[in-house]
Symmetry: C2
Subunit: 190 residues, 2 copies
């Protein structure tokens, strides 16, 4: 892979990055190929030299999201509430460090949820974190007494949707900052 290969790879990344920004702020359908091309100062023709279609570009971003966004996976936790605390802190930390994480996060959520997503792309997106992911931890925490009582699935849902809402806002308006992780963890705390 000579210097040219690297150049090409670099350019692809620029395009992906610009597309991510636009997809997150305007939505996939509302983003025109010319928007992306303009945002990286390149002709549309050249853009198609790098990506075979708008959809392939989207697919590649969703694949990146699948890699880069998978649960920070809190380690060695004493109890369930600590798990939530660690998880949330790590996630917020990642988002602050690398702004594109929050954006990928939102992209994935849209790809999962929006009825407009091409089916094969949605399937990729669905491999990532889901509403149910915290259910077993919540059940354990309720036995311990560290997590509040209530239907575990509904609790998991409440926590996860809050995180999503916060990520969505942060992705578009990072200047507002992120809340303290513990505030959000208190949704599930006993």
């Amino acid at each position: 892979m000579g210097v040219r290969q690297e150049q090409k790879e670099q350019r692809r990344q620029e395009i992906l990055c610009a597309a991510l920004n636009l997809f997150v702020t305007k939505g996939y359908a509302a983003t025109k190929i010319t928007d992306i091309a303009e945002s990286v100062s390149m002709s549309v023709g050249l853009l198609f030299h790098y990506f075979e279609s708008k959809e392939k570009l989207y697919e590649e971003l969703v694949r990146m999201g699948l890699e880069g966004t998978n649960s920070p996976g809190a380690q060695k936790c004493e109890n369930a509430i600590d798990y939530f605390a660690q998880f949330t802190e790590q996630l917020f930390f990642c988002m602050k460090e690398q702004p594109y994480i929050a954006k990928l996060f939102v992209l994935m959520a849209n790809a999962q949820r929006s009825a407009g997503t091409p089916e094969h792309i949605r399937e990729i997106a669905l491999k990532v974190n889901t509403i149910e992911q915290f259910v077993p931890i919540i059940e354990a925490g309720q036995k311990e007494g560290t997590i509040r009582q209530g239907d575990p699935l509904t609790l998991s849902n409440a926590f996860w949707c809050s995180i999503q809402g916060i990520a969505e806002q942060y992705a578009v308006h990072p200047e507002m900052g992120l809340p303290k992780a513990e505030w959000i963890v208190d949704i599930v705390r006993a």
Copy 2:
């Protein structure tokens, strides 16, 4: 206003309702006029007999959102945390009663946030609830000791984003239900 006027008004409502569903699940840009027409079993031509354009249809929905979604406005509260409790309970209650409320809620959020929204429509959408709306109540509550310490704007933002995330999920997947209001209120509780 004969029977025909009523028929016409009724038909307009049907269209608005179908469009709301599609705009919320697929997004405005991704929703085709033919999708809407199909969803109310009517030809595209007829749809244009009722609404002059897709954008006008959108605008009318956003105007409805401005009416129907404005803060339930909690009344006679002893203290700040009660205000949050009442507000959240009322909002969740409204959403459960009338499913279109949650959808209008999401429509408004998208109209406010998405860079694709026509400017004059965004302006309408921006007249409704904002991130800052809870700041004064939070400040009062912090003096009282019923609201936790921390930057009021960031707290307001955290609470509101959580509500938005939950509404978004509920609008698309109502079968999952809504969390208990107090779980979410605990984000700001001292």
